[in-house]
Symmetry: D2
Subunit: 364 residues, 4 copies
């Protein structure tokens, strides 16, 4: 099921950017969770186009409708089906692309794979597919919240503007993250990032960056020793997002430059619990959460759609030039923040159920 | 099945470092593939301890026995079962660790998860688990070879010694990679890496590094648009390996510093095929292979086991000091090269079968 | 994913009888299949309430809406999402049951499992859930039709009225099956069945029966040797339907009374192909289709909802009497015929893709 | 993974009858379960050839070796790997069959599917494959026993000899079942069955029959509402066994002849629990266990291998006659009893873990 994610807490997303609707089915949700459409909507609003002056001005309202899985305001254990109708479709905007492959887009590879060319836009590769992820992740976040687990993603880099590490020492609040349109909790850096995004937009260009995500309150024991390591499933979750090119946890690529004596996290005893003095592991050891803060980062490439002329090839194999039109994000990171949180929450709830099944069901 | 990997071409690994044996079951292998134990053994020998003077001197012979799945030298479509007996077990070496958690190891988190403490060694977190992966990957590589697809991993960084990008322009041959004990195909860099590894070993310390992997000959069309993107499954595969902390494909983290106009891979027409002028995508667009070379990198932390005294806590919660013993790799990268190749091949064969099933079975 | 069925061609159904809608997501559909809503609708109309005077008179129109997965009248390889809005909800009809467990219904076990009591009706156990299966099966049937495979289910028994075996010697046409409201292709038996159904309905009672399903045109080679035998997956598919109590393939339970010399299907050579002289195997040997007609039967119990007073217990544990109301089928079999066909087609397409993946992708 | 069974508690079996060994990997076993090889062996001895004078006289000792997953006599949560070496291989016995398809065997369909002909014997279709199931099931039975759940299968019919229903009213003890070689707990019927089996064997023929399985102590709540109904997964488990042709639960096929007023199980209040007065449901309602005894039956065809001459076709398509040799069971049922129990236990533990994961992990 290539459009499903998770083993026990599973989402299946469906829908294309230019079809009637997009949606998600959540399977395996624990029963009894209080849930209201407004809670889903709040998360969707964080990824919605048009929310600020540095994202795409498309006017999608993205109203969620819950079609199944609730009774008297609580989940029943049955599948939760949610749908968002597509409204702002402007197929005209894509006419020039009817026969030209867009550089670093998915249309060439989709045609190679499926033998079908939907020239109207991204189809399943559209960022609209992530609506289903965010809606599903909103339910997962609610479950985590009930267990006092908090997930917080934020932008740490846009182009070559990097938030100072010292500024990110504490776990940022949601308010701090959402205080600026760019979702970097360090105000001075955020201002520079916004300026940069506006500058590249005015050139018809785009920029990428890095999102960091942290989770606190997670118990030790989540994850599996071998293939389904917690960091492996997080890496898959993040690299499954459009425009991502890299993932690192804890010390990440910079950890490759340390010696073992510098990298190891010494164990200490604190408040009657085994803790680590440092957290280069990023909250995971041997594939399993160790009770420390989960910390990882995701690299995003610059948006592929730019308004400058680009060399390309058309479906007849002829070299040509493409001048893209349409309303696109000059930088996807601000809207990707809630998506990173959603995927993180989905991984964590899934592993929590898996852990509980094997290790908490029977006592011998 | 937390000990299985793959959807159609699946491996299930089993066994602990201090148990009687380790092994793997391959399920879903196409029938008719010529296969001999010697071909599996050749790959196992590349990850074997004691193969050079910069890896652990443990004397494991790692003889593979094929227990099922072959008839008259060819696969039958039935599960292929392979086993390697453990021989060089020295539980004595671990006596000091019987009650002390090893920093940045898996023993604390395993105990938190399973409630069991196997003090004898790594158990499933041991690098011996990867024997099953390499044996399974050897079969996958054979399938790819029959389709003229080549997978080549090699070391590009050890500690702060980095092979010059210019030196890696061509697809290195296996002979070039295996020419030095450190498996970096740039001889001058390899010499420096080996010197560094010996230096840190003499200090009782360890180092990490980076492995790059490239695949050539891959057809366009492998991968899935949404969750099971080729890069997502590769990221999961790599982060499922012990000691890995990061993954990046194509431009990776450095791509976050480029503008769209710099990052996009222009399409060109070459030899009647649609190709890209550059390869910042790393061979994957929209989650699907585009026919260019697949290029990704994996970050490894320094080996957690070092021979210097370390602060830790024992199972009673008392802070103490651990002085590790045993014979460990001061740097895991040389032996990790065949493991990275194995996991890559497993991902690719699995996606090849999936792609073929959906898109090549029926004609309408 | 308890609400999903199939490994490569997968359906996920969602929705409750008294919620806003029911639906299905098909994942893994081959691209390029011509598909129109009318084709789905035709199958739904065969399972629709109110279609004859021997089924429930509820007035559900069951209009299908295709929300995703098509482009210019063909499947794209993306998930196909289909939805049917619920219209004829009469929660009032169920008021008496608010606190009483309905005998041989699912409400007691659902409450034990999920801790939730949705008194409004069947919830996920409602026959409305099968709308998604029929819609998904309609796509599978279309794929099979393109490969010249035909699936035909029909009623062979209602209560103790059994169609004579001699009357079912040929593969019935769809017209023959749908000629009568009870969907038994033997007219004299059909008339008696209809009379019996009307008689028990007038008593406020219900009856069960048996459906036979045959498939012709199926190639040899579908199915798996061990757990996923074709008959095993068909058995699961059928026992997953509401009200089913038994499954048998080929000789079935009566085969237990034969000797091997009577039961074995001798191989013969016919038209240059290996065929069997008889078909007690039911088209499957060693779990794999042998190219003969697939033949199996499914037993259905009488509808649990009857209009006679019944002893039961309420949610407080007090013994009481229940007098059910509502509009129910006195016999589910006529409407179950298209559902049996749908599940059969889903199993076959899934196995076809699986077979092709492992055995037709690579040539060595 | 066609050679795996179960979603959370999973077995993967491997090995052919004429290869070096057969085995099983259990994945997802809860940690802490006390387990000894002798307990596995005891179950294997119940399915072993040569155990009585009515089963095949082959002299396979079937010694199990536990290769992984235990530490100090308890499961660790890691995969449990078990192996049995094949010893009594007599390939000579099969020489006549080198080129002839055996009627109602798997060799024709395997060749059609995989393109490979292993003439030496059953390969994966051999009953030896069930050794892995029995070994895996032994672990599952041990888990159930710790929760006071008992699984008991027994023979109720051989050929046309049927144990009287009245004789099976109570839950038979293991001793009663194993008291006779035929494993029918009604002594008079057992004697007649044994006589019949010896009679057909002397004719070079074979017989089939029916096995009933009951489970007591099962809590309400196991199973899923839609596709993964408990009876659906049991049906799949049973139809995945060699030689099975039918499955029915509770009233089964005879339930099709009852009216709803006769079939429904009235709820009653007993000892403070909601119980049913009768058990035509067979312990499952709406796909979920209701706390009553689980009761189902499985039909087995007569053994396909008989020693009388049979018409068949050879691999060149020429019609010919086959005279089978070898040592085969004239009736598979006595040895199938522990296999039915094993598959039942596997289904139940798997569903128990699934139920617990979704419904017992989080409290809201």
């Amino acid at each position: 099921m290539p459009n499903s994610f998770g083993k026990l807490f599973t989402i299946t997303t469906w829908g294309e950017s230019h079809g009637p609707a997009v949606g998600v089915v959540i399977d395996g949700c624990p029963p009894g969770l209080p849930l209201a459409a407004g809670e889903i909507q709040a998360e969707l609003d964080r990824r919605r186009p048009g929310q600020s002056d540095i994202v795409t001005p498309r006017k999608e309202e993205d109203r969620v409708e819950i079609l199944a899985g609730l009774f008297e305001g609580r989940t029943t254990g049955a599948p939760i089906s949610m749908m968002v109708r597509n409204t702002d479709q402007r197929p005209r905007a894509y006419d020039d692309m009817r026969e030209k492959f867009r550089p670093s887009h998915a249309d060439f590879t989709y045609q190679e794979k499926f033998g079908v060319r939907d020239h109207r836009g991204g189809g399943r590769s559209s960022a609209r597919e992530t609506i289903g992820r965010v809606a599903g992740g909103a339910v997962a976040k609610k479950i985590l919240a009930a267990a006092a687990v908090e997930t917080r993603a934020f932008v740490t880099q846009v182009h070559d503007i990097v938030a100072p590490a010292s500024a990110l020492g504490n776990f940022p609040t949601l308010a701090e993250v959402d205080a600026t349109a760019v979702r970097c909790p360090h105000p001075a850096t955020a201002a520079a990032m916004i300026e940069r995004i506006k500058a590249v937009r005015s050139e018809g260009d785009s920029v990428g960056g890095v999102i960091e995500c942290r989770v606190r309150g997670l118990p030790a024991g989540l994850g599996e020793p071998v293939f389904d390591r917690l960091e492996a499933d997080l890496a898959k979750a993040m690299l499954s997002l459009p425009a991502t090119k890299g993932f690192e946890i804890g010390s990440g690529f910079s950890g490759a430059r340390l010696k073992g004596s510098e990298h190891n996290d010494a164990f200490v005893s604190r408040d009657g619990r085994v803790r680590t003095a440092t957290n280069r592991s990023g909250g995971v050891q041997g594939g399993i959460s160790n009770g420390e803060e989960l910390v990882f980062r995701v690299a995003f490439k610059p948006t592929a759609t730019i308004l400058q002329p680009q060399k390309t090839v058309d479906i007849h194999g002829t070299e040509t030039e493409l001048v893209a039109r349409g309303r696109h994000d000059p930088c996807v990171l601000p809207r990707a923040v809630p998506i990173v949180e959603a995927m993180t929450a989905l991984v964590l709830v899934d592993h929590w159920l898996r852990h509980s099944a094997q290790n908490r069901t029977f006592k011998f």
